[in-house]
Amino acid sequence: MLLGTIGTGLNLVMELQTIELARDAGHMYARAGPAADFSQPGYQTLLASIGSTLGLSTTAGKGSAVLILSQVLYVDKGICASDGKVDGSGNPLGCTNYGDWVFTQRLTIGNSSVKTSNYGSPVVTGKTPVTIASNGGISLSDQVTNVGDVATFGVGINPYKDVSGVVSGLPSGQTIFIAEAAANGYAMPPIVNNPLMYSYNMF
């Protein structure tokens, strides 16, 4: 019971911290808008200090935690039009991702091998890779035409889908900001084996 208490208790505290990290980072990410560039070292140091007990590191590939920030956009006619992928009467033409949610930005901080995103990731390898800029941005043409940039809401629920699965009444250009935090907990075999703390928050 003692070991169970200590092991479970510590992992519970870590879970609380993943929730708070996802919330803090996501709120700043969604609220700050364009002025905050989370790829800058200054911001990453701040995030690492919030996630310090989880082992979030500013060096990619190091540490025992990861923070994934994504911005996801719904591609409607207006978006197709802004990339020129419409015909004369404004209907989508050659707009591959029309009707899908695509990534407009993806930033990964910390050790990406801890967990991959529950919402998919832009496909950066292969014949037609998605290019992710140093600040995490993805070009408009990739968003509109590259199938590898589509986000999947398999495990999660997309808040902008109403009951019948249709997105209606939304102004063009709506984005969802998603923050996911994951960390390796304390393993205390045989009581606690390979625990993974995970939390996400959508703004």
Binding site: T8, G26, A32, G33, G156, P159, Y160, M202, F203
Partner: protein
């Protein structure tokens, strides 16, 4: 006699006894405290994060056609999944969303849920109810954009385009972030003189009564050929930088809309009022009222008809050419031009596409004095433009003026030493130290003194706007409209005066920060992408969601 013969048999059971009693009385509550309390904390934190996510996500859409109530509920459900695969077995998840509309729109979320406890069950407490609340508020905005279209704006931006083309694009993007039909937007452009680009009502009404025409409105993005988006697209760059007049005209526009909305709203108007100023340089023009009875600037020996009284007001603007005034000298003072806002013949669309310099018409051209009107009789105050007696004050050495005026054409002071707070920065860093000498109003032919006066004019104009100094002249109005000023400075055209722009905005870092006025923001931009970011940052700041 042996006494303790009983001890052996009772000792055997003591550990067991101790453990049996301490289990429920000590260990379970302790472990319950640690584990159960932490689980409840976790559920509470997640619930609170879900509420915040929903408030922000749905709050963004307040004022649009989307159903914020439904979307808020969807967000909460997406962030906090219950049920068999749900979060720690939480049940009775009940979100309550209340949306209130009006010019101040609020979305209030209240969520309760029940968390089952594990260890505390033994002591009879099997679950606990947690709750979280979050609100988002959006007040409808009233914004006037004030855009510098001086000659330097037609310079290159280092990325294949011109600065004015970039600003046009970013300003359009800015306007598109607001809600047609809900927010009110307006447009003022300035070169040597300021003129209203949207709405397109002409002639321009400078009064601030409830029946005044003009003022920002909600049709700025209606798609019509004369909507604000089209007017922005028509802007052409040329001329001086009459920053103070740009700000003051914007202030008049805000007041007109405020009076109109107050009358329509039964005496109440709770929109936020903002001015967004963009510039790429220092102020180089002043508006003047030369025969102002409070501050007459005409030589008594001049031939001007109205030198002694202002039955006909001699109003106009004076342009100053030269480097930032922080170094001595300057090359030119162009004489007095007519105010663009006084023009009664040209349309707003015409003005967007033409400044004073594009105009080659005769006497009816804006900017040139019209004969037999206020400037009549004067010999040495005209601009050196289109055939009138040349009056480059500096080269000719002749002038009808006796002083650099103390009060500008709109009643704002040009006196003082505030210019010692100047701090000029270009994209590489600081390029000039403040001028610490005195402003000598008698040096009529010295461009530097005019330039210092222009700095002061802009500074006091902004301060008066932030104080809503014209409240006394608004009949039936008792409330300060608290305008917030945001300034964006593009540093790539020779530099902007950071000291001045911080003061205009009443940014927290301003040398004259005043806590009783609205706190604005100054955002410098050293290149074109920073400029794009600056516009979107100001839009986000205005679209504040409060919790």
């Amino acid at each position: 006699m042996p006494r303790n013969f009983r001890r052996g048999s009772s000792q055997r059971g003591s550990i067991l006894l101790l453990a049996t009693f301490s289990l429920p009385l000590l260990m379970v509550p302790l472990v319950g405290l640690a584990i159960d309390a932490t689980i409840v904390r976790i559920a509470q934190a997640k619930l609170s994060a879900a509420a915040d996510g929903a408030a922000l996500g749905a709050g963004r859409l307040l004022g649009t056609t989307a159903s914020t109530q439904e979307i808020a509920t969807e967000f909460v459900n997406a962030n906090f999944q219950t049920g068999s695969s749900g979060f720690w077995g939480v049940t009775n998840f009940t979100p309550t969303v209340t949306v209130t509309l009006g010019t101040t729109k609020t979305i209030a979320l209240n969520i309760t849920a029940t968390v089952p406890l594990f260890f505390m069950r033994i002591l009879g407490k099997s679950s606990v109810v947690i709750s979280a609340a979050s609100t988002a508020t959006r007040r409808d905005s009233r914004i006037v954009m004030v855009i510098d279209r001086s000659g330097s704006m037609s310079g290159l931006d280092g990325a294949g385009s011109t600065v004015i083309a970039d600003v046009i694009s970013y300003a359009q993007g800015f306007a598109e972030k607001f809600t047609e039909g809900a927010d009110e937007l307006g447009l003022v452009v300035y070169d040597g003189s300021a003129v209203v680009g949207y709405p397109t009502v002409r002639p321009w009404d400078s009064t601030t009564t409830k029946t005044s025409t003009g003022g920002p409105d909600t049709s700025f993005y209606s798609g019509a050929g004369a909507d604000m988006i089209h007017q922005i697209a028509a802007i052409k760059a040329a001329g001086f930088t009459g920053m103070a007049e740009g700000l003051w005209v914007a202030y008049i526009e805000l007041q007109k809309a405020h009076m109109r909305d107050m009358a329509a709203g039964g005496g109440v108007d709770d929109r936020t009022n903002s001015i967004v100023l963009f510039t790429d340089g220092l102020p180089t023009a002043v508006t003047v009222h030369l025969n102002n009875t409070l501050d007459n600037s005409i030589l008594s020996t001049s031939a001007c008809t109205y030198k002694a009284n202002d039955t006909q007001k001699m109003i106009g603007w004076v342009g100053i050419l030269g480097p930032p005034f922080t170094t001595a000298g300057g090359s030119n003072i162009s004489g007095v031009y007519g105010r663009a806002s006084s023009d009664t013949t040209q349309t707003a669309a015409w003005w967007m596409a033409n400044s004073w310099i594009n105009n080659t018409q005769g006497d009816s051209e804006p900017g040139a004095p019209v004969p037999n009107t206020p400037e009549g009789g004067c010999n040495n105050i005209y601009s050196d433009y289109s055939g009138k007696p040349s009056s480059n004050f500096q080269t000719s050495g002749k002038t009808d003026l006796k002083q650099v005026p103390n009060i500008d054409g709109w009643g704002n002071s040009m006196d003082g030493t505030a210019y010692t707070n100047s701090a000029v920065y270009d994209s590489s860093g600081s390029v000039a130290t403040p001028y610490t000498g005195a402003l000598d109003h008698t040096q009529v032919t010295n461009p530097s003194d005019w330039a210092l006066a222009s700095w002061n004019e802009t500074d006091t104009t902004a301060n008066n706007i932030r104080n809503d100094s014209n409240l006394v002249n608004r009949a039936g109005d008792t409330e300060n409209i608290m305008p917030t000023i945001y300034t964006i400075g593009y540093e790539g055209d020779g530099g902007v005066d950071q000291g001045l722009l911080l003061r205009i905005a009443n940014d927290k870092s301003s040398s004259s920060y005043n806590g009783s006025q609205a706190t604005g923001m100054y955002i410098p931009a050293s290149n074109t992408s920073a400029l794009a970011t600056a516009f979107t940052t100001v839009a986000s700041a205005i679209l504040r969601l409060s919790k």
